[in-house]
C-alpha cells in the first residue's frame, strides 16, 4: 500500500495516510447520533470514524438523507454527538462548553451554508464583518477587513446595500467573504453551489481551492456534485448514516459511488419530468 492507499472497512475507521507534513486537524472516533422525537428515536449516524489532516480538501458526499449535514453540524460544534469523540488538534471539542465552542467557531471556522442567512438590518459590509465583531475586533478594523474580503470575491461595489437585494450567486459570494474574513483555519461549506448557476458555482469552488492551495486552509465540503470529487484530497462517502467509503481516487468503490449518485440523479430527473 503506497502513501495514498486507504483502508476502509465498511462503517469503520478510515485510516488516512499520514504524510510527514500533514498532521490530523480533525479526528472523529466512534461517532453516533440519534435524535429523540415524540414518535421515538431516530438514529442518523452510525459509528463514524475518520481523520482530516491539516491543509486538506475533504469532501463529504452521498445521497440525500445520508447524514452529511448532521455530520457537518457536529463537526462545527453546533450539534453534540450522542456518542463518540471529535478531536480538533487532539483536543476533544465537546468537553468544552458551548460558549467556548462558539469562540472557537468565531476564531477558527468559516461556515458557508447552502441557503444564505443574513442579519437583515445590517449592510453587506457589516454582515461580512460580523465574525470579526464576535471575536472582539474594533469596528473600523473589522469593516476594513470585511471590505478587503468583499473585494476578493468581487462584491466590494455592493458593500453598502442590504444582502437580500442581491442575487443568489452574489449572496453566496458575500457568504464566502464572510466565512473567510476572520482568516479561519477550517472552512466548512454545506452544498455552497447547490443553488447556483455553473458560473457562480465555479467561482465559489475556485475560491475554496485557492483557500486550500494558496492560504493552506483546511476545507470540508458537503456536496452532491460528483464533478467536485477530483478536487478533493479526502472523500467521505455516506449512505444511510454510515461512512461506507473513503479514498484518494484510486479505489474501485469510487466507481460504484459515482454510479450510485448517477442513478440517484437519473431518478430525480425522471421524477421532475413526471411532475
Amino acid at each position: 500500500m503506497d502513501s495514498m492507499d486507504v483502508k476502509s472497512p465498511p462503517g469503520g475507521e478510515v485510516s488516512l495516510p499520514k504524510s510527514s507534513s500533514l498532521n490530523n486537524l480533525i479526528t472523529v472516533k466512534g461517532l453516533n447520533k440519534q435524535f429523540d422525537t415524540k414518535s421515538g428515536s431516530v438514529k442518523v449516524l452510525y459509528d463514524i470514524n475518520f481523520d482530516i489532516p491539516n491543509n486538506s480538501f475533504a469532501i463529504i458526499f452521498g445521497p440525500s438523507g445520508s447524514g452529511k449535514t448532521t455530520l457537518l453540524n457536529i463537526l462545527s460544534g453546533l450539534e453534540p454527538p450522542t456518542q463518540g469523540t471529535i478531536k480538533i488538534e487532539g483536543q476533544d471539542f465537546y468537553t468544552v462548553d458551548s460558549d467556548q465552542r462558539a469562540l472557537f467557531r468565531a476564531q477558527s471556522m468559516g461556515i458557508v451554508h447552502q441557503v444564505n442567512y443574513w442579519v437583515k438590518s445590517l449592510s453587506v459590509l457589516e454582515n461580512v464583518a460580523m465574525p470579526l465583531y464576535l471575536t472582539g475586533v474594533e469596528k473600523n478594523i473589522a469593516l476594513k477587513m470585511a471590505m478587503q474580503n468583499l473585494d476578493l470575491v468581487g462584491m466590494a461595489d455592493f458593500a453598502h446595500t442590504r444582502p437580500l437585494v442581491l442575487s443568489g450567486g452574489q449572496q453566496q459570494r458575500v457568504s464566502m467573504a464572510r466565512a473567510l474574513v476572520a482568516n479561519p483555519q477550517l472552512i466548512m461549506a454545506d452544498e455552497p453551489t447547490g443553488n447556483l448557476d455553473s458560473k457562480n458555482g465555479k467561482m465559489i469552488m475556485d475560491l475554496l481551492i485557492k483557500c486550500q492551495k494558496e492560504l493552506n486552509r483546511t476545507i470540508i465540503l458537503v456536496t452532491h456534485n460528483i464533478e467536485y470529487l477530483p478536487l478533493s484530497d479526502i472523500r467521505l462517502y455516506m449512505v444511510d448514516g454510515k461512512l461506507t467509503q473513503s479514498d484518494k481516487g484510486q479505489h474501485a468503490p469510487m466507481n460504484e459511488i459515482i454510479s450510485s449518485l448517477t442513478s440517484e440523479l437519473a431518478e430525480l430527473t425522471k421524477l421532475e419530468q413526471r411532475q
Binding site: E89, D99, Q100, A102, F104, K120, Y133, T135, G136
Partner: protein
Amino acid sequence: MKVTHSKKKRLGSVIKPSILASIAAKNLLDKKLRTLLTMMGIVIGVGAVVFLISLALGLHQVVDQQVLGTKSVNTIDVTSPNSTNILLNDANINKISQFAHVNSVSPAYILPGQINYQGSVADTVVYGTTNQYISLSALSFVSGSKTLKTGSDAIVDTAFLDLIGQSNSKTAIGKKVEIKTSITDAAGNIKLVKTNLTIVGVINIGAGAEIYMSDQPFIDAGDPTFGQLKVVADGRNDVAVIRQQIAGLGLSTASPLDTLGQINTIFTIFTFVVAGFGGIGMVIAVLGMFNTLTISLLERTSEIGLMITMGARKADIARLMIFEALLLSIFGGTGGIILAWIVGQILNLILTTYAHTNGVIGTIHAFSVTPLLVLASICLTIIAGLLVAYYPSRRATRINPIDALRYE
C-alpha cells in the same frame, strides 16, 4: 488553532458594547413604525408618571411655602402652659441657652394694650421684643422698615392701621401713636407702661391689630415674665432633642416641623396615589415593549441562529436583546421626562399668568420636575427595560441554531 479547555471559566461577551448597541439600534430602526409606536407608548407611560409626580411635588412645595412662608424650620416657639407657676423668665432662658445645639434665644413680651391715636382709642396686641425675634417671626412686610432702629420705633399690621383710620400703608409711615399696657413686676405690683411710638414699618398678618415695639420699656418697668421665646437650633436635626429638653422644664413648644410633618404625610400619600395612576400607563407601555421585543425575537430567530453558528456566545445574544430593550426604554423614558417637563412648564406659565391677573405676585410652580425625579424616572425606565429584556434574552440564549436556521 486550539480549542480552549476550561470547564470552570465562563466566557462573557467579547463583542464590543458599542458594536452591540449599533446592531441593536439598526434592528430597531429596521422596523421604524413598530419601534416608533412602542417608544411612544413608553413616552406616554413615563411622561404620565413624571407629570403626575411633578404635580404632587409642585403642590407640596406651594403648600409648604404658603404654610411656612419664610419661617425657619430650625425655630422653636416656646410658651408656658401655666403662666402662674412655670415662668418664661431669665432663669429658664439661661437654662435653654445652655442646651446643646441652641443657637440663640429671643424672648418677647406679649401683652394686651390700647392705642391712642389723635384722641381715638382701640385695643391691640403689643409685642415688646427685639429685632432678632421680629426677623424669626417671618413677618410679611408691606412697607417701611423691617427693623426697630430706636426705642420709639414701631412696626404695625394693616389691621392696626385700619383701627387708626390709615388705610394707606405708605402714608402711615412716620405717624405717631401712644400705646398703653399694664405689666406685673417681680413684687406682684401692676404697673402702667405708656409709650409714644412712631410707625416705621407695616406688616400684613391677616389677623387682629398688632404692634411690635422695643422690649426695653417693659424691662425698665420690671416685668420678669415673657410671653414667648423663639429658640433657634443649630440644625433641623437638633430641633427634636431641644424640644424634649425644653419640655423637661415644663414649657410648651411648637415648631414649623410639626406642620411640615403633617404636610409631608399627606403629600407622600398623594404622590403614591398619583404615581399609581401614572403607573397604569407605565405598565401598558412596558407590556407594549415586551410584546415588541418578543415579536422581534421570533422574527429574527434565524438571524440569531446564524450569529450562533458564526460564533456568538449566549452572553452576546442576551446582551443584544438587553441593548434593544434599553434603547427603547432609555429613549422612551427620556422623551417622557422631557414631555412631562414641557407640559408642566406650560401649565406653570398659564397658572402664573392667571394668578397675576388676579393680583397674586410671584411665580407658581404647581409642576416641579426635580433632578431627583428625573434620576428616579431614568432608573425606573432602565429597570423596566431590564425586566422586559429578561424573558426574550433568556429565550434567545436557548435557541438551537440548527432549528433556528430551518425556521426561516
